[in-house]
Symmetry: C2
């Protein structure tokens, strides 16, 4: 049987409403392209907190491990920020990354020609921009121990987090970056803060050694994280693949994607190691967050979520044709002038989440 197991986790905020548009695409592909999916859908983040009192249940983690791929929406509903650090909605995505060992988050920052106007950068600076940020996602300060808040004898408090990186953790994500570079423009820039942090110094050394050993054909450069933040604004097209740790990757990938002016358009993939069974855990999610400020209004852009599903079809299900079909449909819809609020510009037709989804299906 070629039925594939898909776990759908819409999450909170705009997650559920953009995921609804993916369902339309799935229905169409099932009817017209012989796509056979065994779909389970579960609550995570704020939605799970509301029903089950936890951001993600162990059963859902287990389902994610069994699935051939996970399609994730977004989490971060601030309505739950009072429930305590262990029960915040974000724990859903953090636990998924860690328990499935999804260590490499691939975040493209790509400018869509039709949306060049949406960027706050000058068109000449970002035209044709095509960067891939490879962010480590199961290590670093996100998970390092010791961590926590302690109360001192005098009643004042002390907050602690620990950044830890090991040779193995750095190597596996760097491999991912070098491999990707080989099928792109063959250039990797490794980003850390080795002039201040020993963990960054180790990062730089391990990447340098791995490069010399196995990837000498790829062009490697190094950049300090503060300089990288500047260079992304000054001249973003100097980069091909960037590889960096969890925390720098969080800031720099969001920054890079915002350069395109179309955050609502950008999908991402988070990949684990290839297992003995040949299977590779993978989670796909839009780069945008749960956008609580516009949630429930039906105005969110569903294209990043739809394109995340296209990425999933390509990388986890080997359905390149279907992925291209979706991506072409999205391009055509943009070319026809359909715009959600986030990518609106003059002379275009402002449409709702649902109309945008329908338009994509129409184009399939």
């Amino acid at each position: 049987t070629d039925t594939r197991k898909l776990l759908v986790l819409p999450g909170d905020g705009i997650g559920p409403e953009v995921m609804r548009e993916v369902a339309k695409v799935v229905t169409w592909l099932t009817a017209h392209r012989g796509l056979k999916l065994d779909i389970a859908e579960e609550l995570v983040g704020g939605a799970s907190l509301a029903k089950h009192g936890v951001p993600i249940r162990d059963e859902v983690i287990a389902l994610a491990k069994e699935a051939d791929a996970v399609l994730f929406g977004s989490v971060g509903d601030p309505a739950w920020s009072h429930v305590g650090f262990d029960k915040r909605p974000e724990v859903a995505i953090l636990r998924l990354r860690q328990e499935l060992e999804l260590f490499a988050n691939l975040r493209p920052a790509k400018v869509f020609d039709a949306l060049l106007d949406a960027s706050t950068l000058k068109p000449d600076v970002v035209r044709g921009l095509d960067i891939m940020i490879v962010r480590e996602t199961v290590g670093g300060i996100y998970f390092g121990e010791p961590r926590g808040i302690e109360t001192l004898p005098d009643g004042s408090r002390r907050g602690v987090n620990t950044e830890v990186y090991t040779t193995a953790e750095i190597e596996r994500v760097a491999r991912g970056a070098f491999d990707l570079a080989r099928v792109r423009d063959n250039r990797v820039c490794s980003v850390e803060k080795c002039n201040v942090m020993e963990s960054g110094l180790l990062w730089k050394q391990v990447v340098t050694d791995l490069h010399a050993r196995d990837y000498a054909d790829v062009e490697l450069s190094h950049m300090l994280a503060d300089n990288c933040a500047m260079q992304l604004v000054r001249n973003p097209r100097q980069f091909d693949v960037l590889v960096t740790g969890n925390l720098f990757g969080d800031l720099l990938s969001d920054l890079a994607s915002m350069l395109t002016g179309s955050l609502g358009m950008l999908p991402s993939a988070t990949l684990g190691a290839v297992q003995e069974s040949g299977k590779r855990h993978a989670l796909y999610e839009p780069i945008h967050g749960s956008a609580p400020d516009i949630a429930g209004q039906g105005i969110a852009n569903p294209l990043a979520q739809i394109l995340s599903f296209a990425m999933l079809l390509r990388y986890s299900f080997g359905r390149e044709d279907d992925a291209v079909l979706i991506e072409t449909a999205v391009s055509n819809v943009l070319a026809s002038g359909f715009r959600t609020a986030d990518i609106m510009s003059e002379g275009m037709a402002r449409v709702s989440t649902a109309v945008m989804g329908d338009a994509v299906v129409q184009e399939l």
Copy 2:
């Protein structure tokens, strides 16, 4: 006597050549405005490593403590990156910040009208931009223990750094931000990553409590660091004062200053607590780094260093008139079309570091 003690630390890279232009300004003010300075000049960074084998000598730290103000150039010559983590040029600025307890780094990101073209952002997005980033500079992951690289039994390695913030450390820098906001647009945005880091959660709580207690008249908002990186690109003018920790401040302030397109124009001040003597340690330095790629060519922009000296005259020496005099001279020089390479645009006159410095003195 109204003679003030100034310690000048040019550093490495372009530091010495831009500092030379400040000397011209000092000479002019001494001759025409009755400025009385007792100036000591010392080597730090790569320059100190070359002569003394250390990035900064204890004598220099002692001189800095005695001085009424420190004018710093820049450090970071990569020629010294092999000498070991404890002996890298950057230790000079890190030790100065810590030993003088210079906990609040004030980094303006201000657009100069005459240089609007130099930004890679659209003019409408950055016109009139005027942000002040208040960055904590003696705590966080820059100084937290334990830290280091250890070799594990299997020969692999592990790099560790620790982010630590205490109530007191957060409060004093937040006070600085609130006080500043009161003489600006009365808005503070506090930036952390409280959805992932407990140290960020404590940061947010302490800022919130302090605000309720002493600064309820100031508008306070909170933002996650990744979102802040995005918002700085999407709509930077939404901000007035930003306050954040050492590491986020490093990236975000560099990012913010790059929005202006004129990094070579931006000064900064790093302030300590007011001491019993009424004296307050303070160090002034350009936001740009040591720019080893253009060092020694005589093409660096000296204006950030000159404007750092103007800030010093204003805040440490109470010489507002002289500060304004310098700032006006800089404006006039720009209006006359003088441009170093970094801020060059069509129809302007490209000049060297020395010519730019002479032009400022000419305008005084």
